[in-house]
């Protein structure tokens, strides 16, 4: 017996609730933007500058105690958060202390770090260790934000061009719309739950972009093929057919990827949890968007149906760029 996520033959009408799904996407995007604007992202030190110290102690954590120890140092904004992870030993208590970049300091100030460590060891636990200390000066953090934005935009641009060359401009608009949808929704979730937004999160965002485009392209590829095969069929029906034909694959791949990511989410340790969460979320959103967003956009713009132009050899995958198929 074979495991089948979807029946052999499906004929879902993915546009039946187009208004609902597309509307929901638009609402979600707007909601994300609003949350983003109102609440803002919980930027890590990569982007804000400052210092993060991870403490490890056998003493039960009282956040108030930590705060009391650090208050006299006048460090400005201090965020103390306890870290939980199933991998920790029973008497292992881990806390991250985040301190904003110190006023007037262009670079990292080692004195501050030492002062914090001494204060904590004195007040909380003399045997406390500091498994990691990371400091980013304000000068660099500004540049990191800039690089991150450039990276996301460059990826979107590169994909826009690639899809345009390989398919048609309508496809690339649809694909990029879906990608922007995914990125904004992810940012929305990050600001809603105030998950730490770090440099690695940007990598996660780009991975989402990569994954989502992967999904979209497979459907588009089938769409291109079917458009040639069924010259008379309405665009909407061809799209539905293509999505149905690839549905099994779409869910299989999302399924295996999610399985892998969930394993990593649960067992991979707290250090990369935010990063993995972002990707896992993106896989879900990306799968949704390639079915419900990208195609809707393409349907709205419409696609040139006259594929009988010179370069079309009548072959199964003939487009005007078919010859560059590898």
């Amino acid at each position: 017996m074979r495991l089948r996520l979807v029946p052999q033959e499906t004929s879902f009408d993915f546009f039946k609730h187009a208004r609902l799904t597309f509307g929901a996407s638009i609402v979600a995007v707007i909601a994300s933007l609003v949350i983003w604007a109102m609440v803002g992202l919980n930027f890590g030190i990569d982007f804000l500058g400052g210092t993060t110290i991870r403490t490890d102690s056998t003493v039960q954590v009282e956040v108030g105690e930590y705060r009391a120890a650090l208050d006299p140092l006048n460090l400005g904004d201090v965020v103390i958060s306890e870290v939980f992870d199933p991998n920790f030993a029973d008497d292992q208590h881990v806390v991250t202390v985040r301190i904003q970049a110190q006023e007037g300091a262009e670079a990292v100030t080692p004195e501050v770090i030492t002062a914090i460590q001494t204060a904590l060891q004195e007040a909380v636990d003399p045997a406390m260790t500091f498994p990691s200390v990371e400091s980013v000066g304000p000068k660099v953090s500004g540049e990191l934000i800039q690089t991150a934005i450039i990276a996301v935009l460059a990826s979107l641009g590169a994909i826009l061009v690639y899809i345009w060359l390989r398919f048609e401009w309508q496809f690339s608009v649809g694909a990029v719309a879906a990608l922007i949808h995914d990125v904004i929704l992810t940012i929305g979730v990050f600001s809603l739950f105030q998950i730490r937004f770090e440099l690695a999160t940007v990598a996660a965002l780009l991975t989402i972009v990569g994954y989502s485009i992967n999904d979209t392209v497979v459907i588009f590829d089938r769409l291109r093929e079917n458009l040639i095969k069924y010259k008379q069929m309405a665009l909407r029906d061809v799209m539905n057919l293509s999505a149905n034909e690839t549905l099994s694959r779409t869910l299989m791949t999302s399924g295996t990827t999610l399985i892998a990511l969930i394993a990593l989410l649960v067992l991979g340790g707290d250090v990369i949890r935010g990063f993995v969460f972002a990707i896992a979320w993106g896989v879900v959103v990306g799968t949704y968007s390639s079915i419900y967003v990208a195609k809707n956009v393409v349907l709205m713009i419409g696609v040139k149906r006259d594929w009988s132009k010179p370069s079309d050899g009548g072959g199964a995958s003939g487009t005007q760029f078919a010859n560059i198929d590898a």
């Binding site: 074979r2 498994p131 990691s132 990371e134 485009i213 034909e245 295996t256 991979g268």
Partner: protein
């Protein structure tokens, strides 16, 4: 029909075998690492301890010994991003130019009158002449001192100096292209010195890279903290010799322009007033060794100058017999002996209450040379080794579970073909490790995430193919034809899907730094190997199976 030429089969098998053989040493990480370290150490020192011999013997020499580099977040260590204050060098250049300018203008005394250096902002040399009428010839004389810029990018015929006059003041600064060339040299020199200092500490494979115009990235695995690393490389050990003007009671003593007050190391609260312009600097040092004074038996550091330094030192000491001069190390007067006779050989010694370790350390620092300019640290990270080990452990567990789950899922969905895909997946991970080891890439924590993600996504190509075969089977052209068409028709989707992801990996690599870059490397490699294993390897497996069984009907 289903056919793959023999050379093609051989190529596929060979690629897999080579890839796996490079990956294999990673299973014996500790042993191979000790083997490699011992070899490197023997190579470096030329000597061999029994422990090293044992370590070398623990791994057979004929086997590949390539390892994946573990990143700081997995191994623990320190990361620093330093910015080199390149402008510091302009100041030094102007200071050392002053005597030349003075001498050149002195020859024109009739025309320009008396000359005096005036205080100016850092990086500028300003000289006032008492007869502004002589400005034109003064400028010409100073311009003579400039040389054509030596650099690949500098404009042809451009001088190193930018000389201008206004009223009775001559202003000299480094020309723009010379500044660029100087920055370049400063940075290269800084990197070289940082490397030497880090190497002296004997840690494993530090990464020391230039970043942008004036930054250096330093990553040292296995070091206790960023603070320790800073102390190791941040010690300037700038050695200079200055004429002594007099003594002072405190740091705020009155001085003339171009003089400075520095504390004395030996005499608690003693201070010296010195000429700011040094006679000789540590730049002219060619060697420095720890030693013992033959009379007193105390630890000393001996030094030797290059010819330029020796000449300057000789001339100065000859002209100032009986006067004290100060040996200054990092803005502190180590000692201020009186010159008894001209020191012409260019060799001397520094004494000053050193311990044996102290003199050894100072000699090393002097030998490594002074950092040409100060460095400020923009970013520093310390990752403890336990945290790294925990992360590796967690990553491994997660990867294994993910792996097993995906395999079960694939076999349950595609039966025998799922088994083929699973074999391909295992080979895929092997190949990723093989390539990572081969190119010496660094595996970071996000890198492990990248591999896990690839495990999930690697099956995508196979899923595409298998789903396609299923579809082709419906049109009943016979199993062989269906398989062939399945591979053929799925190809365009596979290629498109992977190229787009590859584009992202490339952008991440170019723009990312640190862990992000590590992630992009594994993602990029994973894409390439997964396409290879999913298309070629599974196909080969399917073909071998098909050739043996010749099934009339297949189920995918």
């Amino acid at each position: 029909m289903l056919q793959i030429p023999l050379w093609n089969r051989l190529f596929i098998i060979l690629t897999v075998l080579v890839g796996l053989s490079f990956a294999m040493p990673n299973f014996f990480y500790g042993t191979v690492e000790r083997h490699n370290d011992a070899l490197a150490e023997i190579e470096r020192t030329g000597a061999e301890t029994p422990q090293q011999t044992e370590d070398v013997a623990a791994w057979p020499g004929y086997l590949p010994a390539t390892l994946v580099n573990l990143g700081l977040d997995l191994r623990g260590g320190a990361h620093l991003l330093a910015e080199v204050q390149v402008e510091d060098v302009y100041v030094q250049r102007m200071d050392s130019l002053w005597p030349e300018v003075r001498d050149a203008l002195r020859e024109l005394r009739d025309v320009v009158g008396t000359i005096r250096r005036v205080d100016a902002e850092p990086g500028l040399l300003q000289v006032r002449i008492s007869q502004p009428e002589g400005m034109v010839s003064a400028l010409a004389a100073v311009r003579e001192l400039g040389q054509p810029v030596v650099s690949l990018t500098g404009g042809f015929g451009e001088s190193t100096l930018d000389v201008s006059g206004a009223g009775d003041v001559i202003t000299v600064r480094l020309s723009e292209s010379e500044q660029a060339a100087t920055n370049d040299r400063t940075l290269q020199q800084s990197i070289e010195i940082v490397r030497r200092r880090v190497d002296e500490a004997g840690t494993r494979e530090p990464t020391i890279q230039r970043q942008g115009a004036d930054r250096i990235l330093i990553q040292v695995p296995g070091i206790g903290s960023a603070q320790e690393l800073k102390e190791l490389i941040g010690t300037t050990a700038r050695l200079t010799f200055h004429p002594v003007v007099g003594r002072a009671s405190g740091p705020d003593a009155d001085t003339d322009s171009r003089q400075m007050v520095l504390p004395s190391v030996d005499e608690g609260d003693g201070y010296y007033i010195l000429e700011e312009t040094p006679v000789v600097t540590g730049d002219d040092l060619v060697d420095s060794q720890p030693g013992f004074d033959q009379q007193t038996g105390e630890a000393i550091v001996t030094f030797r100058f290059n010819p330029t330094g020796a000449r300057a030192f000789g001339e100065y000491t000859a002209a100032n017999v009986g006067a004290p001069f100060a040996i200054v190390l990092d803005e502190e007067v180590i000692s201020a002996p009186v010159i008894r006779s001209a020191i012409t050989g260019g060799a001397g010694q520094i004494s000053g209450n050193f311990t044996v370790e102290g003199s050894t350390e100072l000699a090393i620092l002097l030998r490594a040379g002074a950092l040409p300019a100060e460095m400020t640290f923009l970013e520093e990270r310390t990752i403890g080794p336990e945290l790294g080990a925990d992360s590796v452990q967690a990553g491994q567990t997660a990867a294994l579970i993910a792996f097993a789950a995906v395999l079960i899922f694939m076999v349950a969905s595609y039966g025998l073909f799922g088994v083929f895909a699973s074999i391909a997946l295992i080979l895929n991970v092997g190949l990723i490790f093989g390539i990572l080891s081969l190119i010496g890439a660094t595996l970071t924590l996000p890198g492990i995430a990248g591999i896990v993600l690839t495990i999930g996504m690697a099956v995508d190509a196979n899923v595409l193919v298998f789903e396609r075969i299923r579809e082709e089977l419906k049109t009943a052209k016979g199993p062989a034809r269906a398989i062939e068409l399945g591979y053929e028709r799925a190809l365009s989707a596979i290629i498109d899907a992977n190229i787009t992801t590859f584009i992202i990996a490339t952008i991440l690599f170019v723009l990312g730094s640190g862990p992000v870059r590590g992630f992009s490397v594994t993602l990029g490699i994973g894409i390439v190997t997964s396409v290879f294993t999913a298309i070629y390897v599974t196909r080969l497996l399917v073909v071998y199976w098909f050739e043996r069984k010749r099934p009339k009907k297949i189920e995918v």
